[in-house]
């Protein structure tokens, strides 16, 4: 199982994601200017400020050469995880429905949040139980998930709401307290909180985020046998 972790000039959490992925498999960085995904079985678009996040978070990054390959990869059913800025990039790229707007509290906010697993059937939360609580840090300025009513209804029917902020912990004002969503096919997933920062009790406050990476490994290896 090999993860490819994209690296933009303004990425901040790419090494953290790389090391988190290495806890469950192999992982390698992929420079934004490259088109070769190096044979990765799954792609992580990490957190940070890709190209400075000027204009709109993720707006410029989605055009990176590496992202073009990621879009093809996702179309072929490959697993793509977008974390924080990566989530924003995937929305901008149209791989995920909806958009991420400025936090309702108008501030960058860092907080350990509790997430509730709404769908444990997919490739990103298969290692979790339905309704399980995960303690994972969130840190962002643009994390207010938005999609129009029609889109939301369709997403709900298709089980695309994967994670939500439990009990009033949504400082960003996301619709339905949504923290993480997948595409309809279930092979692309984005979330604002940072599972890669919750893989080691010593520095993460919990190791719950490891379950996301573990789920991806199970999905890839399960598909193989």
């Amino acid at each position: 199982m090999k993860f490819g972790v994209l690296q933009f000039p303004g990425s901040c959490d790419e090494v953290d994601a790389l090391e988190a992925a290495r806890r469950v498999g192999d992982a390698e960085l992929i420079w934004h200017g490259e088109r070769d995904l190096k044979g990765a079985d799954a792609i992580v678009v990490p957190g940070g400020f890709s190209y400075g996040d000027y204009l709109r978070a993720g707006a410029i990054a989605r055009f990176a050469p590496a992202m073009e390959s990621v879009i093809d990869f996702a179309r072929d059913g490959g697993l793509v995880l977008g974390i924080c800025n990566g989530f924003q990039v995937l929305c901008e790229a149209g791989l995920l429905p909806g958009a991420l707007l400025g936090n309702a509290n108008r501030r960058f906010t860092f907080r350990q949040v509790e997430l509730e697993v709404l769908n444990s059937g997919g490739s990103f939360t298969g290692a979790c139980a339905l309704g399980e609580r995960l303690s994972i840090p969130a840190k962002h300025a643009c994390g207010r998930y938005y999609a129009d009513a029609e889109t939301l209804a369709a997403m709900d029917r298709a089980g695309q709401f994967v994670l939500r902020y439990a009990g009033g912990e949504s400082f960003n004002g996301s619709v339905h307290d949504i923290a993480g969503v997948s595409n309809e096919r279930g092979n692309v997933f984005g979330l604002m909180p940072h599972p890669e920062h919750a893989v080691d009790e010593l520095v993460g406050g919990s190791a719950d985020g490891l379950k996301v990476f573990e789920s991806m490994r199970l999905a890839v290896e399960g598909a193989r046998v």
Partner: protein, 78 residues
């Protein structure tokens, strides 16, 4: 050709910045202000004005959540 692009949050989407401005004004002694919305302003010189539309669609605005409006300001000396 100098052009100006006005980008606004789509109607019906919460605009926390607009709300904050509106809330701050009375304390500063300004009454009678309402309907505040905060958006983005992009000004640029383009050789070919027909590119403005696709530039907005692709990059400057996110049509899911933003509306935009293009104004041509005439030749670039401005």
């Amino acid at each position: 050709m100098r052009a100006r692009v006005l980008i606004r949050p789509k109607q019906g989407i919460l605009d926390p910045q607009g709300v904050a401005v509106e809330r701050a004004l009375p304390a500063l002694g300004f009454a009678g202000v309402s309907g505040v919305h905060v958006g983005r302003l992009v000004e640029l010189d383009v050789d070919d004005a027909s590119q403005l539309e696709p530039i907005c669609e692709k990059l400057l605005a996110n049509p899911l959540v933003e509306d935009y409006e293009v104004e041509l300001l005439g030749d670039s000396s401005g």
